[in-house]
Amino acid sequence: MIIEMLYPEIASLYGEKGNLDILKLSFPEALFIMTKLNDEPYFAKHEVDLIVMGPTSEDFQKVIIKRLSPYINRIQSLVNQNVHFWITGNAMDIFGAYIEDEEGNRVLGLGMFDYHACLYRPKRFNSYVLGKIDEMEVVGFKSQFSQIFSSQNIHSWFKVVRGFGLNEKTMDEGFKINNFIGTQCLGPFWILNPDFTLNYFKELGYVKEELPYHKEMLEAYQQRVIEFKNEKYINYP
């Protein structure tokens, strides 16, 4: 099992390090490659099982696009080979057609998928998300400057029940094609949703019936599901 974290030193804002914590605890034998911004990605020349990248600043988005541009074909072929990608927050923006800033300037993304992102700084979009993946309720946090728009929503990952999806006008959240998952739900998504995470980690070869501290995570999850369903809680804090 080889897991590559792309640029965790800058692309792990807003709690993404929590996802890494549970990943490390669950796969103690795995080889973790922490690729830094000025390194060649490990996946360029090696096989990997999972690639993870989290949210970053808007300036570093542009740098990352430059760093990853030489590997677009390689990334595409990894997606085609069903390699798992877990891409959260505005890291998702990087894989789309372009990112448009508040003045209408566009920076080309990796252009792999049919969506684009628009920035609305200083407006911040905050939300709690309650959604359903195959009848399983999931919860998440969103906190971002960008919204994602797509000409078609056929690849959205799940339906939001409360909160919003890729932009404020849609309840379609995330992007899934083969085993590439992009979501604006921030880390610690895996910690917030232990049953989902157990299934997901099983796809990656996890064999036990529970995650480390599964019981504790499940209790917190159950409380949060109740809270996120309750209308008394304002959804845009």
Partner: protein, 456 residues
């Protein structure tokens, strides 16, 4: 001529302040909201203070604001500040009203000192233009509101007028270089020979050179990105400070180009020294020489520490502000506690319950906070109180802290009951800005328990 709606809003708002004060209320926010309601561009028409000193930055704003205000008042300046009020628009408006003539056409005090939340800079500085701006430091803060450091930096860059004299911390390579065209005075706390570097924090907000994106070298890393850096590939490096300080025998020895003098410290942490240095630098800019600053500072009965600490029958109780949602402030306190290894400690972490009536909480910030620092043999109890105790338990578990050390209760006021007084002799109560009364009540309950249960 000021527009009539401004003058009306000004007078109504001032009368509201007077009325609230008659009723014994503070009135530091509401009258500001009234003014903005009656005149949406109210702030544009406020008279420019004769001298405006603003203080911004992630941590230390309030301490520095209080300190410089006290010294200036002692030195005979008439002054208006928002030290007791809010640091967003409403609070700033109230302060500006109190600093102005009855109809709001001119400023009537010598100095206005404003603590300004970084995020609202663009709504303040274009109108109330600071003559001097202290930027204490910049770190990541609330994810919901502040996003990340580069965003806050951008907000400040866009808002700070080009004539504003800056006072910056040379040990913070992010905030010290803000607005490169502006004049600035900087201060630095020199590393002691045996000073421990803290390189194990979960987050560091500056890793790459802002000029060439090479990985920076930390020549000295005090904590997070605070320290001295240089770029191995270009000329970017920490700036040379105008005011250099070093701690000798628990005193702060401060040196500028002309003089060198020793000051009493505010506390024993570097953050205390930085707050003091920011204030000293300000007086230096205002034309006081170091000796005069020393005289004025010594006159103050300042709180010598930001910790509110009592000791009863050998049990020490400390209330510490951690600022909910701020991973850096909380990590700094965890770091302090991990170094108090001569004490057997219990930690009480309480939630800002007041918000829970309308909000859940994004607890992502736990995962950027150095809970690892609490995984020490002398930290015997971690006690959670309030609505996030299940999340806290998960975080404690994932950190590798044995769960036997964790107790919790849904009611934060019950946390005092969970302290094992036979086990611990230092109790830290960590609260946020909105639950200070709860923290005090917990302390009161603990004192009562100690009086009854502990036999000295």
């Amino acid at each position: 001529m000021k527009p009539i709606r401004y003058t009306i809003a000004f007078v109504v708002s001032r009368l509201t302040i007077i009325a609230l004060r008659r009723l014994g209320r503070n009135g530091t926010h509401f009258p500001g909201a009234v003014a903005m309601r009656l005149c949406p561009d109210f702030i544009k028409h406020l008279p420019q203070p004769k001298k405006l000193i603003a203080i911004t930055g992630t941590n230390g704003k309030t301490t520095v604001t209080n300190l410089v205000s006290d010294v200036l008042m002692n030195a005979g300046y008439t002054l208006s500040n928002n030290a007791m009020g809010s640091n967003i628009q409403e609070g700033i408006i109230v302060t500006a009203i109190l600093a102005s003539s009855f109809f709001g056409d001119r400023s009537v005090v010598d100095v206005v000192v404003l603590e300004v939340d970084e995020r609202i800079s663009p709504r303040i500085y274009p109108y109330l233009k600071p003559d001097i701006l202290i930027v204490t430091n910049l770190f990541r803060d609330s994810y919901r509101r502040n996003a990340h450091v580069e965003f806050i930096q951008m907000m400040l860059e866009q808002a700070i007028p080009s004539h504003t004299q800056l006072i910056v911390n040379a040990d913070d390579p992010i905030s010290s270089y803000i607005c490169p065209g502006n004049p600035r005075i900087s201060f630095s706390l020199k590393a002691l020979e045996d000073e421990e570097q803290i390189k194990d924090s979960r987050i560091v907000d500056l890793i790459y050179c802002p000029k060439c994106q090479s990985e920076l070298v930390y020549d000295f890393q005090r904590y997070h990105h605070i320290g001295q850096v240089h770029c191995p590939h270009c000329d970017f490096k920490s700036m040379k400070a105008d005011l250099e300080a070093v701690v000798i025998n628990q005193k702060l020895s401060v040196k500028n180009k002309e003089q060198s003098l020793v000051f009493d410290v505010l506390g024993y942490n570097p953050t205390d020294h930085y707050n003091l240095l920011a204030s000293i630098a300000l007086f230096n800019v205002l034309g006081f020489d170091l000796e005069a600053i020393q005289v004025e500072l010594n006159k103050l009965k300042i709180v010598k520490t930001r910790f509110d600490q009592v000791e009863i029958k050998g049990k020490q109780i400390t209330i510490m502000m951690t600022k909910d949602q701020n991973p850096i402030a909380t990590s700094r306190i965890f770091d302090y506690i991990r170094h108090q290894s001569n004490r057997r400690s219990a930690l009480i972490l309480i939630n800002e319950n007041s918000e829970h009536h309308t909000l859940s909480e994004n607890n992502a910030w736990y995962y950027d906070t150095d809970f690892e620092y609490l995984n020490k043999d002398h930290v015997l109890q971690i006690i959670g109180g309030g609505h996030r105790i299940l999340d806290l338990k998960v975080k404690i578990a994932l950190t590798g802290i044995p769960l036997e050390r964790y107790q919790s209760t849904w009611n934060e006021l019950d946390t005092a009951k969970l302290v094992d007084l036979s086990l611990v002799d230092a109790i830290y109560i960590l609260n946020g800005t909105k639950n200070i009364p709860e923290a005090k009540q917990i302390r009161k309950d603990l004192i009562e328990r100690i009086e009854v249960e502990v036999h000295a």
